[in-house]
């Protein structure tokens, strides 16, 4: 097929959506953007801020892949509009390792227990578990208790067994601290 050089078509670059200003703190840094009121928080985080570690698995609040911490609580970014998070404090998977890339104990436990395969669901699991670890509640580390803790996240690869082991391992570490 020959592709003859042609005058580049005039392509619009914006939609007719109005925009609103949103400001929030993301992983400790304050950000302000002008976005469409219907922009999902997932798109805001991933494409406006370029933090692509937060994933999207269903966009209807069932799989947990998009889990982030909003004001310290696990929340589904796919069910949240960016404007709803105006003024909030967000934490995403990118905040989990330290600056130099050293994995947190939770991340290490996932690696050591082979708690991930494709890794698509993993950031959502980590953020959900992080919220539990930091909640101050007494954690039920029985098999049943852990399975219950992660029962808001779907994983299609691992069969969960190793994720359960990873939670137990990291929670023990957390309890020791």
């Amino acid at each position: 097929m020959r592709h003859k050089p042609a005058i580049a078509p005039n392509i619009p670059s914006v939609s007719a959506d109005p925009t609103v200003e949103v400001t929030m703190t993301v992983n400790g840094q304050t950000v302000t953007r002008h976005v469409s009121p219907r922009m999902l928080l997932t798109d805001f985080i991933r494409h406006e801020l370029g933090l692509t570690g937060t994933h999207v698995g269903c966009e209807h609040g069932v799989c947990g892949a998009c889990t982030v911490l909003i004001d310290g609580r696990a929340a589904r970014a796919c069910l949240t509009f960016a404007v709803q998070a105006d003024g909030a404090e967000l934490r995403t998977i990118e905040s989990e390792a330290s600056e130099d890339g050293t994995l947190s104990e939770l991340q290490k436990a996932f690696a050591e227990c082979h708690g991930l395969q494709c890794g698509y669901c993993t950031p959502g699991f980590i953020m959900n578990i992080r919220a539990h670890l930091e909640s101050g509640e007494k954690l039920d580390l029985s098999d049943e208790g852990i399975r219950d803790m992660i029962s808001g996240n779907l994983c299609r690869c691992t069969g969960y067994k190793n994720i359960v082991a990873a939670v137990r391992k990291s929670a023990q570490h957390f309890n020791r601290k």
Partner: protein
């Protein structure tokens, strides 16, 4: 590296980046100025398209283009039939965008491109399509009747393929049989549901005329071939990259989906990068599915339970099109005798067009259906003859001294004869018997029954033909600057840990750390010979190719080091990135060897100084590279298996029915499996466990439901029930390692192992649980609470007060 890496439980090279959220999935690739595509899809299972009006959509601010079959030029054609087979006549494949007819709910009719996905989806709703709905028949058994509505008028009775295979002499054996057991079983429709839906992004560089496509596919080389031919571009000008892919399970091996060619087309057409990120609903209604088969199976046996002959006749639902040929049905038909000797087999299938999303392999690919048929039949035979379920299997299993055991007349999905190459089937069965506690079980069951509880033991054996050809390749190069080892292959990974397993193979040969092996796959720009990731073949086919290439590089390393260290080759040792002379402290780093074997002009670093044209070491007569020599330490090799290698295993479970909710509770689940030598047992177990969870989903929860009009009524994760951690029991996995004689590493595939036998195991356990009160045999999966309720004596299931 003194300890052997092959066989070691090593954590994965890929994990840190995935755990930090630094994975590179298609939608993560930054493409400045990218436009977004959305599809208009058919709301009818079968209809004529009277008219399409795109004007309102085009008028929508932010919309750039709307494509229908009328403005996609040469792409308005039927897409290729990927795997032709003589049993199909005029096989029907899909057009990228429907022309005149639609054949399933979800079929793409138009594609809208806009500045963002929000606008693209708004505008997709504004495309006005005028349909004239036609009659449909969703039930396969009715669809093959003479007066059934046809999916394709070209195919009477909706038959897409009709194929019979025969092994041995079934007629004679049937005549000699003393007992026949016959049953009809059905495994129903399901879907892979990878956590990342399908994704495509494309960018065409008009200056260099190069097309780059990022595609969450299992088959980047195939996609590249398809695009180059459909677009009439030099293969060289098309680069397909499968970046990180969030699970595939077969759904992403099929190509091209409409979006895989229309997105690149629009990128060329509009001169902008374009992205299409499928949403979950589209994944349900638009991406291929698998499973529905209805088997009528007969076992012809002696009174002592020896099965002399098997006859199976099954219907295979292929959906509205058959782009992947008969692969799924063929795998089922050739796996139908399972691990049993059964020397005489007749198996026929008819692939049936139904007005539903097309059927192509989903993890298991026909094996779960075949396993369900033969294992439910074995249970029934045992029951009818009054023989214990373990015993009837023991009497029929292929014995260790009978390997390799060929089934002449049965051709597997690679076109080659079925040959069970090695195994310890009897030992595996015995291990399962012990692990599940068969000897104590009757007492436990009696006790439970006395208390009014329903406790059952389920059992199923499976076999899995893996590691199909035609071939894969491996390329290995030691980099001169870092001394790290670079490995390429033509596969693509979706989480299987190829980077680590293959690094282990290479690390042993070359004496480096696993973490110093840099592995790259899924990029036709890096390596473009090969096939794809499917049929549990990566470890077998690519693994052995990489092993062979590593041996060549090892030899190069040893020879070059011997030369530089002035020692005989048999005194050179390779450890931790250094070549040394045995028993001395004379050693030299691989980076130095790699540099020295590459004659240089420029001394870009210290090591390079010794390799430049003017360095004393380089002084010799003749050209710096002798005739036939190539620079550096590098090799490519290929592995092409003589036929598939057969893995196998046994599942056993103790299940209890909760009579109030009709929920199935697993008290114990054991899985014995043998995939030959294990490269990394941690990864193997992960694969098996993941498969088991999918199997449990398929056995009890996951069911694609169509209404009578062909609408998929549960196209979301609320209604299509993928198990969470709370639904999956803790499963005990035990390994056997019987090497395959068919490849140098002695490995067999494991990707699909876990899921195959779960449906049969669960059904076997449930039938056992109710055998004292009901004749229910559970010949259908997924088993729903309703079916369990029906199996219980009336009035059992009482809501609590």
């Amino acid at each position: 590296m003194s300890t052997r890496q092959f066989g070691a439980k090593i954590s994965r090279n890929i994990d840190p980046e995935l755990l930090r959220g630094e994975g590179k999935f298609t939608d993560d690739i930054p493409l400045p100025g990218a436009l977004h595509a959305a599809f208009v899809r058919s709301p009818f299972a079968r209809a004529r398209i009277e008219a399409i009006d795109t004007s309102d959509a085009l008028a929508c601010p932010g919309v750039v283009a709307v494509y229908t079959c009328d403005n996609i030029e040469h792409l308005d054609r039927e897409l290729p039939l990927l795997i032709p087979h003589p049993s199909m006549n005029n096989a029907r494949t899909q057009r990228p965008l429907a022309r005149e007819d639609v054949y399933y709910v979800g079929q793409p009719v138009a594609m809208v491109v806009a500045v963002n996905r929000y606008v693209a989806e708004d505008a997709a709703l504004l495309v006005d399509v005028d349909y004239d709905a036609l009659d449909v028949e969703l039930d396969m058994e009715k669809a093959i009747l003479d007066d059934a509505p046809l999916v394709h008028p070209s195919h009477p009775n909706n038959i897409a393929a009709d194929f019979t295979q025969v092994s041995g002499n079934p007629d004679t054996a049937i005549a000699a049989a003393e007992h026949v057991t016959k049953l009809r079983v059905q495994v129903d429709r399901s879907t892979a549901a990878p956590m990342e839906c399908r994704t495509v992004a494309a960018w065409f560089d008009h200056v260099s005329s190069e097309l780059t496509v990022w595609d969450g596919t299992q088959a980047p080389i195939g996609v590249r071939g398809g695009l180059a031919s459909l677009f009439d571009l030099d293969e060289d000008k098309v680069r397909v990259i499968a970046p990180h892919v969030g699970g595939g399970f077969g759904q992403k091996v099929m190509f091209p989906y409409a979006d895989e060619i229309l997105v690149p087309y629009a990128a060329i057409n509009l001169g902008k990068p374009i992205k299409y990120i499928e949403d979950r609903r589209e994944n349900f209604i638009g991406s291929n599915q698998e499973r529905t088969q209805i088997h009528t199976i007969e076992l012809y046996a002696t009174k002592s339970g020896e099965v002399l002959a098997l006859s199976d006749d099954f219907l295979h639902d292929t959906g509205a099109f058959i782009p992947y040929g008969i692969a799924v049905a063929q795998v089922a038909s050739t796996s139908i005798a399972g691990p049993y000797r059964i020397p005489n087999i007749r198996v026929r299938f008819r692939a049936v067009y139904t007005p539903t999303v097309p059927v192509t392999p989903y993890r298991g690919c026909g094996r779960p259906q075949a396993c369900f048929a033969i294992e439910r039949a074995m249970d029934q035979l045992a029951d009818e003859l009054g023989i214990d379920r373990f015993e009837i299997r023991r009497r029929n299993l292929i014995r260790d001294d009978e390997f390799p055991y060929a089934r002449d007349g049965l051709l597997f999905a690679d076109g080659l004869q079925v040959k069970h190459d090695s195994g310890q089937y009897l030992r595996a069965l015995e291990m399962a018997r012990e692990a599940i506690g068969w000897d104590d079980f009757p007492a436990k069951q009696a006790e439970a029954r006395a208390e009014g509880r329903y406790l059952g033991l389920g059992l199923a054996f499976y076999v899995e033909g893996t590691g199909l050809g035609p071939y894969e390749g491996g390329h290995i190069k030691i980099h001169p600057i870092t001394g790290k080892v670079y490995v390429n292959t033509g596969l693509a990974g979706q989480g299987q840990g190829h980077e680590t397993s293959f690094a282990q193979i290479v690390a042993d040969q070359l004496g480096v750390n696993v973490s110093d092996v840099i592995f790259r796959e899924g990029d036709t720009g890096a390596y473009d010979w090969g096939v794809a990731t499917f049929a549990s073949r990566a470890a077998v086919v690519s693994g052995n190719a990489i092993y062979k290439a590593a041996k060549v590089v090892r030899q190069q390393l040893v020879e070059a080091a011997a030369n530089m260290l002035e020692a005989p080759t048999d005194e050179i040792e390779l450890t931790d990135g250094y070549a040394s002379v045995k028993g001395t402290n004379r050693k030299i780093a691989y980076s130095t060897i790699a540099t020295a074997t590459n004659p240089l002009r420029y001394a870009f670093n210290e090591a390079a100084q010794i390799a430049t044209q003017f360095a004393p070491a380089s002084k010799h007569d003749g050209p710096p590279l002798a005739e036939g020599q190539h620079p550096g330490l590098e090799a490519t090799d290929y592995f092409s298996p003589s036929c598939a290698t057969w893995a196998y295993g046994v599942h056993a479970a103790i299940v209890e029915i909760d009579p109030v909710t009709c929920r199935v509770v697993f008290h114990k689940y054991v899985c014995i499996h043998d995939c030959g030598n294990m490269i990394n047992p941690t990864i193997v177990e992960g694969q098996v466990m993941g498969g088991l969870a999918q199997g449990i989903g398929g056995a009890l929860f996951e069911h694609i439901e169509f209404d009578d009009d062909g609408n998929l009524t549960n196209a979301n994760f609320v209604d299509f029930l993928i198990p969470y951690a709370t639904e999956i029991p803790d499963i005990e996995i035990q390994h056997l390692e019987t090497p395959s004689p068919l490849n140098p590493l002695g490995v067999k595939g494991v990707g699909e192992a876990g899921c195959i036998a779960v449906g049969a195991t669960v059904a076997s356990g449930l039938a056992d649980a109710v055998s004292h009160v009901s004749g229910s045999k559970f010949h259908y999966t997924p088993v729903t609470p309703d079916m369990i309720l029906e199996a219980l004596p009336q009035g059992t299931a009482q809501p609590p007060d």
